[in-house]
Symmetry: C2
Subunit: 339 residues, 2 copies
């Protein structure tokens, strides 16, 4: 392995991504910020309040897939990055890099889909930029969406608020987005009922903020490297063990089969439109109830518990078969170009 060059695995959201951010990106750009400083969104004090600011690059292939496309995915992804830091999304930007020779009809479909999703979510795309590069220099379309949102004065979320005994709540079945894209790419035929779960979370999150208040400790959407990466990040950042129950984790039957057939761990598959929330023990039931009011949260469940502080914190899965295994932070790119 040539460590002097970028590998696909550097983009996977796993350990190798974390190393690239820690060793190359943050020393250059972050000026000594901690490794979470360039995470999904930043919170800025503006004098008049707190502003959330986030950016995402989308390189998904194929550009259109069951249940969505790169445009819808980008809009949902950026809304969700704002929502999980407790912000009410204010506006989005959209930057495009297009390949020379791209069919304008395809571009139109992708943008129509992005626009429709934004309007449905009640959030405007207010600024943009478009570049074109030679056919040999890019395949398809790359999208950047960035977003700004306002954080209410009473919102307090963060790793530092997580306590031993808190519960982990998941808003719905795992892996459908990643596996729908992957199945399309691999031409799997038995997965016809598997569609991307790509959806905006801001309304569900707004209800959680309103109804749980201080009992809502932390939120994250499990995208690249899936639930495993979110839990590993919590365990490491907060220095706590986490235990999750396999039998409690909602998943579509076809998603389980597709993951098995592709040799993937469902916990590591990318989602877009699912929420992981850490809540106070006594508020877990309520969190599930709030989520279930929304179509995208209809299968919400309590899936685990934050344990005590550990010397080398681990995430453990109590398997459906009665065993236990350690959930690994993925090393690199199991599934390139899923989001």
């Amino acid at each position: 392995m040539d460590t002097s060059r970028i590998q696909l695995a550097h983009g996977g959201g796993g350990q190798l991504t974390a190393e690239l951010i820690r060793d190359v990106i943050l020393p250059a750009l972050g000026g000594g910020q901690d490794p979470h400083a360039l995470a999904d969104a930043a919170v800025l004090e503006t004098g008049g309040g707190r502003l959330a600011f986030t950016t995402d690059m989308y390189v998904v292939q194929p550009l259109e897939f069951p249940g969505g496309d790169i445009g819808k995915l980008a809009v949902c992804g950026t809304i969700n990055d704002l929502a999980v830091c407790g912000a009410k999304p204010l506006a989005l930007s959209m930057g495009l890099v297009l390949q020379e020779g791209l069919e304008i009809d395809l571009l139109q479909r992708v943008l129509d889909s992005a626009g429709r999703q934004a309007r449905q979510a009640g959030i405007r795309v207010v600024t943009g930029d478009t570049k074109v590069v030679e056919r040999s220099a890019l395949d398809g379309i790359i999208v950047n969406t960035s977003g700004v949102g306002l954080i209410g004065a009473d919102v307090r979320l963060g790793f530092d608020r997580i306590q031993s005994g808190d519960r982990v709540v998941l808003s719905g079945p795992l892996g459908e987005h990643g596996l729908a894209v992957m199945s399309q790419r691999k031409g799997l035929s038995f997965t016809a009922d598997l569609v991307s779960d790509c959806a905006p979370l801001h309304e569900l999150v707004s209800d959680l903020l309103d109804e749980l208040g201080e009992n809502l400790r932390f939120m994250r959407d499990p995208t690249r490297s899936g639930l495993a990466a979110v839990l590993a990040d919590i365990a490491e950042s907060r220095g706590v063990d986490i235990e999750i129950e396999e039998s409690a984790i909602p998943a579509h039957r076809t998603a389980r089969s597709a993951a098995e057939m592709l040799g993937l761990d469902l916990l590591q598959v990318a989602n877009e439109g699912k929420l992981v929330a850490v809540v106070a023990e006594g508020a877990a039931r309520r969190a599930v109830d709030v989520m279930r009011r929304h179509a995208i949260g209809s299968r919400a469940a309590v899936i685990g518990t934050i344990g005590p502080a550990g010397e080398s914190p681990i995430v453990e899965l109590a398997t459906a078969a009665g065993g236990r295994r350690i959930v690994q932070m993925p090393y690199g790119e199991e599934l390139p170009r899923i989001c």
Copy 2:
């Protein structure tokens, strides 16, 4: 010409870009906004004040060029888009798409350069995202920078403030960024003294805002398609004729020669770090004086005058030789991948 497919010229910042934005992008994303609605930056009312929000995709080739690289260019470009709408830059994001196999040393140099430029400008990069794609799917690095800034309560800038008799002021010599990149790419040897003029404008702009007040009507940085595109945009949006004086336009001698050798119109070449300001007639001298206090504005000059309203507004150049010619809005991509 196959009009059903994207051409390089769609990315050039000229007429074909304007058509793509008007016919494809805005109907999908803009919800009936005018063609300037997805321009360089958006202004958002946040309750507590006005927020400027901007995004840029950078695809420059080569990634490193005399006087800069894609990292420095991206940071300057986004600072400048905020500055020209009268905002004090607050924070930047940086999104990266990397080609598998990219040398990490090259990435490090580019990011160091971006970080150095941001620190010099006193503006933090607060959030980011990195994706990696296969070697066959991209050459090099694509950068997105987005930015947010705050607009002072007393700042009033816009096309609608431009009046007949106002003067056009340019902060420095034209074309050095575009021609330095182009010369590097073409291997021109006589252009050794030509370096990219890429620089952040926010301090110069801040002084202009302070000292000119209401007499500062409008600002724009002449990037893709250069001064010609900015003036065409003003003429069309405001419905006015504009006259500029060739002999008054500052330009580096080597830049003039390089443009001539490459068959390019210096007025259409991309810059990054130059400012076009429209100011009240009586404030033009003062604007030049303010600009000249800054190293990047040392060759600032009054270059033209806003004329009366015209039925089909034109931009006219009074040539050094005593003739007159119409300055065209470039049709497409004279210089692909300059920014």
